[in-house]
């Protein structure tokens, strides 16, 4: 059931999936050309944020355009919980695709550095925390209002990532170097899962209370 619902989300945005795959492939080399000092991490962060938020936003837009299609899905034996969880899975799949694409990028463009699991865990943490705010807002406030949150994330992400990965700010992340990869990985995964779980519980609660027209 969950797989069918995730597949549904990809089907309704199938026109944009190809574009986002190309964009997530091109963003890191473009960053390498523009800001070579932090191209790897910054390029990957931007690729992930753009891909996940743009595709999620397109899915929300389609569901906003066809509200009765969601009503029909809820009238079928699909639990509302599954419909909400499929959105989280949809994002996880896009994240996995971005990791794979960035891995290929690093093989083609050595200047991007090595794509290690530490970077993947940190970016995963950032993304899950952003999504953990976005989905409950979407289910509570609706597409129109949640769109503002999305706009803020998209507009702030280049500025934020540029700030975070500037050499003069690197000192602030020095503590990460003192931690072992395993610790970063475990902490990142635990915090991400906790944020996702709380977020999913809230989203499910909001969606189950909603009267569908």
């Amino acid at each position: 059931m969950l797989f069918s619902l995730v597949k549904k989300d990809f089907l309704i945005v199938k026109k944009y999936v190809g574009i986002m795959l190309v964009a997530s492939f091109l963003i890191p080399p473009v960053m390498l050309w523009r800001t070579p000092e932090a191209a790897g991490a910054m390029g990957f962060t931007l690729a992930v944020i753009f891909s996940i938020f743009m595709l999620t936003q397109y899915v929300s837009l389609k569901e906003y355009q066809y509200p009765k299609a969601t009503t029909l899905l809820c009238a079928l034996p699909y639990p509302r919980k599954m419909i909400v969880l499929s959105k989280y899975c949809f994002c996880l799949i896009i994240y996995a695709a971005c990791c794979l694409i960035f891995g290929i990028d690093t093989l083609i463009f050595p200047g991007l550095g090595i794509f290690d699991i530490r970077m993947a865990a940190i970016i995963f943490l950032v993304i899950t925390i952003l999504l953990s705010f976005y989905f409950p807002a979407l289910y509570k406030l609706g597409y129109e209002k949640a769109k503002f949150l999305f706009v803020i994330v998209i507009m702030a992400s280049p500025i934020l990532s540029a700030f975070l990965f500037k050499p003069e700010n690197a000192v602030r992340f020095e503590f990460l170097n003192t931690l072992s990869t395993t610790k970063i990985l475990i902490t990142g995964i635990i915090v991400s899962l906790a944020a996702f779980s709380i977020s999913a519980i809230l989203s499910i609660r909001f969606f189950e209370k909603r009267d569908l027209t």
Partner: protein, 289 residues
């Protein structure tokens, strides 16, 4: 006949509108028409039954199984046809089917293919290229391809031409011919119900007005026409509603024998479902005013 669906004490509030203590049951083997004017509460009732809106109170049982706690099991045995715009227009018929089919345990691909062939629908066609009638047929193909025991339809004939409506009614007859099934469909186009319904339930202003077998209901009511001179405070009581003009009056009564006894030289005609529905709605409106 065993009840296929029992609704009792259903209450729901939507701003100024409320469903008030809705109770009815659908017998097995019957096509039940759910009638009422626009805004009477038909769609809200159907959506409450399907768990699309949160009811305040009440119970819904399907073949004796309570919906609460068994919603998905129960929905697995229902076919649903909602009003227009329930599909993602940019998907093909086959893609939309792939979204819907996995929800059902008893999905039958062969039945679906047969329905598409019968309705001359191409699975590779995009939904946005379908006419209104074809969309309805497609919705029916989806609703009938998983061995559903109860078909729930919300205004299925709305906006369809007479030919497509007639085809739809034939499909419902074929479906019912298999036995052990039920159809519950809301409409305000009562001429369709004249042809096909066994049972009628009327809702008005969020309250059930009547639940009766169609033939019994049509037999129990009569249209009376005559001169306004025949009307007096006593005879007026026999009527659900009376319309008066310069040529006389037209009224609907459930007390035909009293009318015949006390009002001579009047014309008696058989009413349609629409006549009865409107008479009840107008009477209730007058009582409220």
């Amino acid at each position: 006949m065993d009840p296929i669906l029992e609704v009792s004490g259903l209450n729901k509030r939507y701003g100024d509108f409320a469903l008030k203590d809705i109770s009815f049951c659908l017998p097995e083997g019957c096509i039940t028409g759910f009638v009422g004017i626009n805004g009477a509460g038909k769609t809200t009732t159907l959506r409450s039954i399907l768990g699309l809106t949160n009811k305040v109170s009440g119970s819904i049982k399907f073949f004796g199984t309570d919906m609460d706690g068994n919603e998905n099991k129960v929905k697995d045995r229902m076919g649903i046809v909602l009003d227009e715009g329930c599909f993602y227009d940019e998907l093909t018929l086959s893609e939309m089917k792939n979204v819907i089919a996995p929800a059902y345990k008893n999905w039958c691909e062969q039945d679906f293919t047969e329905y598409l062939e019968r309705f001359s629908l191409n699975p590779k066609q995009k939904i946005n290229t379908l006419s209104k009638g074809m969309r309805m047929k497609y919705a029916l193909a989806l609703a009938l391809s998983h061995k559903a025991e109860l078909l729930i339809m919300d205004e299925p004939t709305n906006g369809l031409d007479p030919l497509v409506r007639s085809q739809l009614l034939n499909i419902l007859k074929d479906y019912m011919a298999k036995g052990g099934k039920g159809v519950f469909f809301s409409t305000h186009i009562t001429s369709d119900l004249e042809k096909i319904a066994d049972m009628l339930i009327m809702i008005d202003d969020g309250q059930i007005v009547f639940q009766e077998e169609k033939d019994q209901l049509l037999d129990s009511c009569r249209i009376i026409k005559g001169s306004t001179e025949k009307l007096n405070p006593d005879t007026r009581k026999y009527f659900l509603t009376i319309e008066e003009n310069a040529f006389g009056f037209t009224g609907i009564t459930k007390q035909t024998s009293d009318v015949v006894e006390h009002m001579q030289d009047v014309l008696i005609e058989r009413p349609t479902i629409e006549d009865i529905m409107l008479a009840n709605a107008e009477r209730r409106k007058k009582n409220v005013v």
